[in-house]
């Protein structure tokens, strides 16, 4: 086979699924494939973060990831062998392209710079993290301060009496631009410490697999993981409320299957109930927790604060558990003790003092860094994204008020650069006293067309796992660790076309969370289908987001096409004690709903025991 043949498809070689024509126009030109610039690079599909086609506006989020992660490798910390990451959307799905620096001279030049720069961050990690929290909390304050005001029929008198000289349209334009700026600023901070945090994890895994060739990755993560991450706080708040409700004799009211409004109304009727309502208000600071269906990037992944039925459902489950006498406490001390025992045992198995010292050092650094790796999610993916989308929705309402759209949610079919133009047009149109704009026709049509395209994209068969050049070898540690994209996987995928999926009986993946379970499979391709999952089924899906955790109470095990050991879903599975095999690449193609399957989360194997038909 010549090296020419060792490649993955070019986008133009693939058929365009009916109805999806024109999808490229929804996204910025620099973020769709162009064979003339991309053909010499390797691109892999990321369904971990983007499990389904991304709406045009929401695209700002993945674009920001790739944009703001890159310079930390290439121009800030000067990672010796790595360029930044290029990426594109193909049919609404996200692809990443890692690339290494291969010129030894260039690497050599970068080493002392890396030592000094990354070294500084590691040596001052906690101090820098404290500073980071202040920066980000400040940013969240500034985001909260951005108000989106409806465009009034007539400006308030104060504009005149105080001689302000600025109108509400101008305020809208500024607010939108400020939001975009805040978003970019946030993603800069997001990756400020994340790449190094991941690197410290990869380094520890690397050491462990050398010292203990058969060690399983969940075991390594167990040694690293803490128990007090911010991301546990929202759920801990619900547990607190559940305990109070039972203690105060309000369980029957809270348990009732009614709307949040009805529940609050019922609570307001008694003294105890009113106090409980106040406790709920106190907990709301932790309700900026985005747990709806989908992933963090999507506007329709709603936060608890936006839809109280989400947390209240969990609250009810906790009350049922308390009443049944089931403990709802996370056994923190036990988890810590277990972690420390395991760590101590591995340490004692090392035979040289040098290795013991290095093991302690690596572990110490990764444990410190890991707190950031977990907690940044709270500030960025949860609180900020909630505040951001909340404001975009208000702009959507103004677009409806000004007769540009029919539904505020339609704003998400307009990408963020287009929206800047629309906002300008809207405030101009408003300024003219409501004279007609062509925008009022153009954007309605665009939205209609794009709604159809998005529907067709969602219905279309899944996109290929890889594009363009087949790499000789994958060595970039984050690609391996976060997405489980290894040389072996890529090669396997390249050959997979030769095998019929229904003939496969076994799938090899990554042991993401320990345990062995048998059960009926439920294949879920899109987050919106998550409701179909029945009690004790095994969830088979492209990838899971931590936001899917709501389903974890019902299922026995999880099988995913993609996801490394560090994916947040893998961490969540381990926390919930659910067996999981990730990174089977073609799990959703091979397994059918109803198949009896066995998931071996210790070995990373999935076996199809019996076909549904």
């Amino acid at each position: 086979m010549t090296s020419e043949e060792k490649r993955f498809p070019y986008p133009e070689e693939l058929e365009t699924p009916p109805g999806t024509e024109g999808w490229e126009e929804m996204y910025p030109y620099y973020f769709v494939p162009h064979t003339e610039v991309d053909k010499d690079d390797f691109f892999f599909l990321d369904v971990v973060h983007i499990p389904e086609p991304i709406p045009p506006f929401d695209a700002f989020s993945p674009e920001s990831w790739l944009r703001h992660i890159s310079q930390y490798n290439s121009r800030v910390f000067m990672l010796p062998p790595a360029f930044g990451l290029r990426g594109f959307f193909y049919r609404g799905y996200l692809y990443w392209s890692p690339k290494e620096i291969t010129d030894p001279k260039e690497i050599e030049k970068r080493v002392p710079l890396f030592l000094k720069r990354a070294g500084y961050y590691f040596d001052h990690w906690n101090e820098i993290y404290e500073k980071w929290i202040k920066k980000v909390e400040g940013l969240l304050e500034r985001t909260r301060a951005i108000t989106i005001k409806d465009l009034p029929e007539m400006e308030d008198e104060s504009v005149v009496m105080e001689a302000k000289g600025l109108d509400t349209g101008f305020h809208l334009q500024t607010s939108y631009r400020n939001l975009l700026n805040l978003n970019d600023e946030l993603w800069q901070y997001h990756f400020e410490m994340l790449n190094l945090g991941y690197a410290s994890y990869v380094l520890f895994v690397d050491f462990c697999t050398k010292a203990f060739p058969g060690i399983e990755l969940p075991t390594v993560t167990k040694m690293v993981s803490g128990v007090d991450f911010l991301m546990y706080r929202p759920v801990e708040e619900l547990k607190r409320l559940a305990k109070l409700a039972v203690e105060w004799g309000l369980a029957d009211i809270v348990k009732k299957d009614c709307s949040p409004e009805e529940m609050i109304e019922e609570l307001e009727k008694s003294e105890k109930g009113r106090t409980f309502s106040k406790e709920i208000e106190k907990s709301k600071a932790w309700f900026y927790y985005r747990t709806g269906k989908g992933g963090h990037a999507y506007h329709y992944t709603r936060a608890w604060i936006e839809d109280l039925s989400l947390p209240f459902r969990n609250l009810r489950d906790f009350i049922f558990k308390i009443e049944k006498g089931v403990s709802i406490e996370r056994p923190k001390e036990k988890l810590i003790e277990e972690r420390d025992n395991i760590t101590e045992e591995y340490l004692n198995l090392l035979r040289t003092e040098e290795d013991k010292k290095m093991f302690r050092l690596l572990l110490d650094r990764v444990r410190t860094a890991y707190i950031y790796v977990e907690d940044h999610m709270w500030y960025c993916e949860n609180v900020f994204q909630t505040l951001f989308y909340e404001r975009i929705r208000k702009i959507g309402k103004i677009l409806v008020d000004q007769d540009f759209l029919d539904d505020p949610e339609d704003i998400f079919y307009i990408n963020r650069f287009e929206l800047e133009m629309v906002v300008w047009d809207v405030s101009y149109t408003w300024a003219t006293g409501g004279r007609k704009s062509f925008g009022q026709i153009k954007w309605r049509n665009t939205v209609k067309k794009r709604q159809k395209i998005m529907d067709a994209l969602r219905q279309a068969p899944p996109p290929p796992p890889f594009f363009y050049k087949a790499p000789e070898k994958i060595t970039e540690p984050l690609t391996i660790m976060l997405w489980g994209v290894t040389t072996e996987k890529v090669e396997q995928a390249r050959r997979a076309t030769e095998v019929k999926p229904e003939e496969l009986k076994e799938l090899k993946g990554i042991a993401a969370s320990p345990g062995i379970e048998e059960g009926r499979a439920r294949v879920i391709r899109r987050p919106a289908e998550l409701d179909q999952v029945q009690m004790d089924e095994i969830l088979v899906c492209p990838a899971t987001e931590p936001t899917w955790a709501s389903a974890f109470g019902r299922i026995k095990a999880v099988v995913t096409n993609q996801g490394g050991i560090m994916s947040h879903a893998a961490i969540a599975c381990r926390e919930y004690g659910i067996a999981s095999v990730s990174n089977t690449t073609i799990g959703t193609e091979v397994i059918k709903t109803g198949d009896l399957i066995k998931v071996d989360g210790d070995k990373g194997m999935v076996t199809i025991l019996e076909r549904a038909y």
Binding site: V111, A118, L203, K210, G214, T219, E354, K357
Partner: protein
């Protein structure tokens, strides 16, 4: 008078020169709380007393004055055969002094009482102060005090078997005298047995325990005459990582009539069945972990599961010794140079994954 008999519970590794290696180790493990077969040890002093008080040593010396052979000349081998036969005849013809018999009887009776069997079947095994693997002889399934005494004498006499005489002659050691200890220990009525390494012997992974086992006595596994079942256990989590079931066609079992281990066919229904239950595997691994911790180095052990006893009292460690391959290598640190965290990180990035 020097003490010449000890219960295992009175011995530890330091008694090597007094009772020989095997007894000292069995004592050490007994003391550390590991389940080894109950028993007692006759020290080197017992050998000396017997040989001296019965006049055996003197007779052997006299016999050897006329003996002249070259251990490196193949043609002289029959001479060693003949000498061995004669000397063993001398030793085995001697009656043990009555006072020694009495003491041994007391110890044997105690053993029978402790295990609840009259005429408890025991093994008499040689225990030299330095290892001579396979040189001396052990006798299995010995029942009743007179048989026990007879077989203790046989162990002593086995120091004069042909291969031992030749080995001593080659080393220039005296031929007439080579004191050894004797271990008298309860026979484990093995349902299954085998070996356990407290390390992955294939790649040296110290976080794994490997167990090989077959039905019957451990001999079939030790000698490699069958493909055993194999378990890889995570040493830290004490959890089975991998199980390999083998088709086990033959096993060693005791024939009580001939008092010999026979290599017999395994009935088809047991051939492909794992010879250990999961709880037995995990219990063994736990014991392996403790033994390794006790000795401070990876161990190579032999174990057996007694078919007459309930779990977990049925698991016995018969022997242990330091693992020979990986433990003997000088450990190479992974972090080769004394380097800072960030140096180490940079190096790993450059080397590639």
């Amino acid at each position: 008078m020097t003490q010449w008999i000890y219960g295992f519970d009175k011995l530890c590794a330091e008694h090597n020169d007094i009772v020989g290696k095997k007894c000292a180790h069995l004592g050490e493990m007994t003391g550390a709380g590991f389940r080894v077969p109950l028993g007692f040890a006759l020290s080197l002093e017992a050998y000396k007393r017997f040989m001296k008080e019965t006049g055996a040593t003197e007779e052997i010396r006299q016999y050897l004055t006329a003996f002249n052979a070259d251990p490196n000349r193949p043609a002289d081998m029959p001479k060693y055969d003949k000498a061995s036969e004669a000397i063993r005849g001398i030793v085995e013809s001697k009656e043990m002094p009555e006072d020694m018999k009495d003491v041994i009887r007391q110890y044997y009776d105690e053993l029978c009482r402790a295990t609840g069997f009259s005429d408890l079947p025991v093994a008499t095994r040689s225990s030299g102060p330095v290892s001579h693997p396979g040189q001396y002889e052990s006798y299995l399934y010995i029942r009743g005090i007179s048989s026990v005494i007879e077989n203790i004498i046989k162990v002593w006499s086995s120091t004069f078997n042909q291969r031992s005489l030749i080995a001593r002659a080659r080393l220039g050691l005296r031929l007439d005298y080579d004191p050894v200890g004797v271990a008298v220990l309860k026979m484990v009525n093995a349902k299954a047995a085998g070996v356990m390494f407290t390390i992955n012997p294939v790649n040296g992974d110290p976080s794994k325990i490997m167990i090989d086992g077959n039905w019957g006595l451990g001999e079939s596994v030790v000698s490699g005459s069958v493909s055993p079942d194999e378990w890889m256990v995570d040493k830290v989590a004490v959890k089975i990582n991998k199980v390999m079931v083998s088709s086990k066609l033959k096993e060693y079992v005791f024939d009580t009539k001939t008092a010999k281990a026979m290599f017999v066919d395994i009935p088809p229904d047991r051939q492909n069945r794992l010879c250990l239950s999961e709880e037995e595997v995990l219990e063994l691994a736990k014991i392996g972990k403790k033994i390794e911790r006790h000795y401070g180095i990876a161990q190579d052990t032999e174990w057996a599961i007694d078919k007459d006893l309930p779990f977990p009292e049925n698991i016995f460690i018969l022997q242990c010794r330091p693992e020979q391959v990986w433990s003997k290598k000088k450990p190479e640190p992974i972090a080769k140079t004394e380097s800072s965290y960030i140096d180490y990180m940079a190096n790993r990035f450059i080397e590639g994954w």
